[in-house]
Amino acid sequence: MSTVPVEVGHPSVQHWAEPGHRDDRSFLRKYVFATDHKVIGAQFLFMSLFFLLVGGALAMLIRWQLGWPGTPIPGGAILGEAKAPGGIILPEFYNSLVTMHGTFMIFFAIMPLLVGVFGNWLIPLHVGAADMAFPRLNMASFWTAVPAGLIMLSSFFVTGGASAAGWTGYAPLSAVPEYSGVYLGQKLWCISLIVLGFASLMGAVNYITTIVNMRAPGMTWMRLPLPIWSLFITAILVLLAIPVLTGALILLLFDQTIGTTFFLPPDGGQPLMWQHLFWYFGHPEVYILILPAMGIVSEVLSNGSRKPIFGYRFMVYATIAIAFLGWVVWGHHMFQSGMNPYLGATFMTSTMIIAVPSAIKVFNWLGTMYRGNIHFHVPMMNAIAFVAMFVIGGLSGVFMASTPVDIYIHDTYFIVAHIHYVLFGGSLFAIFAGIYYWYPKFFGRLMSPLLGKIHFGLTFVFYNLVFFPMHNLGLDGMMRRIYDPNQYEFLQPLQPVNTLISVSALLLGAAQLIFIFNFVWSLKAGKKAPANPWNANSLEWTLPSPPPHGNFTTMPTVYRGPYEYSAPDRETDFWPQSEPPGTRTGGRREEVHA
């Protein structure tokens, strides 16, 4: 059948905002079982920030043990005798700590922050829609993620404790309780991630449909703000990668419960098959964790530099290239695994190639700042830090991409340094940039710029003190996931470095209190935010802060791209996307930052 009439199948009846109409939905409908994408975005934000704190607390415990091995933690009695008798962390609990730190941070903090929060906040507003294509599915996505998180948390409190097989869950360690000492906890780990996978898939379906189908007139693909391009590509990655993880987790869960032998060698199972399945998901996953961050950085850098993004088209192509190539590099996690070395050689080649689109993006960000008119507002500081830190993370990746060098650095702290430079130095700084940038729009209040700058400065300094020395630890041969490196003579000289890192980590954790305070305090006491505090161009800035339910009173029309800053012959240095052509002077200037 050819064209289908628009009414068929209830294309999302867009409930445009109605001025003067009282919103009489109940509290439950509005804030708990909300279908408004803005509220769901905030829900994901609170959930994810909570889990970010959980992940951070776990990291503090890890660093305590590495900084002062065998020393009781102040207040450690709360952990209980099974995990830390006398406040001294046990090796088995340590293994749980490293596992759950990674698990919570990746699945319950960074991923929902980037995909759940910014996807929900930005997609409908940036494309010019009243809401997502499937608002109730959106609600279901959040309310599926929450139980998944609770299940994961509960695994700490069962006998045998939480999973201790690494966030990568390699079998047979993860498949056989006798090997790991963890019984129910490992099963809960699998179940939790399976449930979370459903939440992610619901989100992906919603995002893709909304971006493809619900763009306002004039919002062509090449006029989309880069966060939307990134989220679109990311949603496709989620759609195709998460089901593979789900499959792998099911096979593992069956090995643990109903007697299958997928990964158990005595009965023909293949441990390497777990790794192939896991990393086939796992590598696209890390691009899921960075691409939306890159989109946010592009948005903020262009705004802060008052200059169009350098090479918009190439940014789009690079994003697509990264996503595409990301499917054929998974074996670089398995170079030393016993996989056929010839296969390793092909993965080395594809892995080296994927460095190129990332390099293009970095140069384009530099090009955006070049000859700009840079305003160092708090989001901009965080975005610039992203560029500086992502470069380090990306360059360190070249070392491990080289298979012979990887022989030495695989499973050492060099890898840990790399991971954290891209995930913290990269993704988390971008998340901070995004929160500082869009907080005024969605909460209707301004955060304190002074506290923002202090938070940024302290975080930047301590973060580098924590993670940069890890490169050196790795180059000296310190392995990952090691409860007490002093068992090895060749690692004993490294103790002072570990202690230095741990001190910095505690200070880094403390510095986050400033952010928490700023965030919470500004909700009630911050100055009321105007519609466009950053003098930005995308559609959300034409609406009140916060936008009403239904967003736009009439469907907007888009006339230009989102990065038309400092265009000639204009009184102001910005040019909103929906401003009709022929309006020479543009909007009022509403500078707000210090």
């Binding site: 490293v98 030393q336 070395p341 080649t349 190129v356 700009g372 080289s402 298979t403 030495y408 041969g477």
Partner: protein
């Protein structure tokens, strides 16, 4: 520890080749790092907002895009190409290891390394094989070929100074080879999370001068293996007799022939 980015002295033949690739990458990435970060700082200072300033209204430059696509591509391809040969030699050469390479079997398990030496006849699965736990003895200047197995979970055989690392996977026998260049005492580490004792799965590594290695082998080979390894129940003379008359089982590690220490191997 050293804050420079130098690697510890390598003690194997391909160790220095691996290190030269590392240093090549270090130089290339180091230069790029400096250039990019300096540019970033310069831009922040030079293009900061000042009264009356306006940004350049430019959308990019296709020519520059091509330059910074092609140059990184060439650089990484060079690195990949140079890495390829060293990789294939280190990992695949196992199939082409020198004919006179010494064969040793290493079985990883929670949480120790059981090393089976071929004894004076230098053939595995013969009567004069013996097993040491957590002690790896190697001759200097001679290729060694290790058959790596695991009894339970995935471990990883990591000799840092030798630039050797290979996961030990249950259900697989994986070949690892290297040639030590310097006598001395080193450590073997497990580099794959394998359970609660992962952190203490270290073993001593002794590289002997060749005559010293031969005499060590004859000394050890002559002794009853039960003395060295965790005592199995009665390794009687009858058991040793049985082991020496049973034909070698070849590569199949799932056979139920007791190894010369009387212990079953899965």
């Amino acid at each position: 520890m050293n804050w420079n980015w130098l690697l510890p002295e390598p003690v194997s033949t391909f160790g220095s080749e691996i290190d030269s690739i590392y240093y090549l990458i270090l130089v290339i990435t180091g230069i790029i790092f400096v250039l990019v970060e300096v540019a970033l700082v310069v831009f922040m200072v030079k293009y900061r907002h000042r009264e009356g300033r306006r940004a350049e209204y430019s959308h990019g430059s296709t020519r520059l895009e091509l330059v910074w696509t092609v140059v990184p591509f060439v650089l990484v391809m060079v690195i990949a190409w140079m890495s390829m040969r060293v990789w294939l030699e280190a990992k695949v050469a196992d199939g082409h290891a020198p004919a006179d390479a010494l064969s040793i079997r290493v079985a990883a398990k929670q949480f120790e390394w059981n090393v089976t030496y071929p004894g004076p006849d230098e053939r595995l699965d013969t009567a004069d094989d013996f097993v040491k736990t957590n002690q790896l003895h190697l001759p200097v200047g001679r290729a060694v070929r290790i058959e790596l197995t695991s009894d339970d979970v995935i471990h990883s055989f990591f000799l840092p100074e030798f630039r050797v690392k290979q996961d030990a996977v249950p259900g697989m026998t994986i070949g690892v080879w290297f040639e030590a260049t310097t006598a001395g005492e080193y450590e073997l580490a497990c580099a794959e999370l394998c359970g609660l004792g992962h952190y203490s799965m270290n073993a001593s590594v002794t590289v002997h001068e060749s005559e010293a290695f031969q005499s060590w082998v004859s000394e050890e080979g002559g002794q009853t293996p039960a003395v060295e390894t965790p005592a199995p129940p009665d390794t009687s003379a009858a058991d040793l007799e049985a082991a020496s008359t049973t034909p070698p089982s070849g590569e199949d590690h799932s056979s139920h022939q007791p190894a010369s220490d009387g212990k079953e191997r899965a």
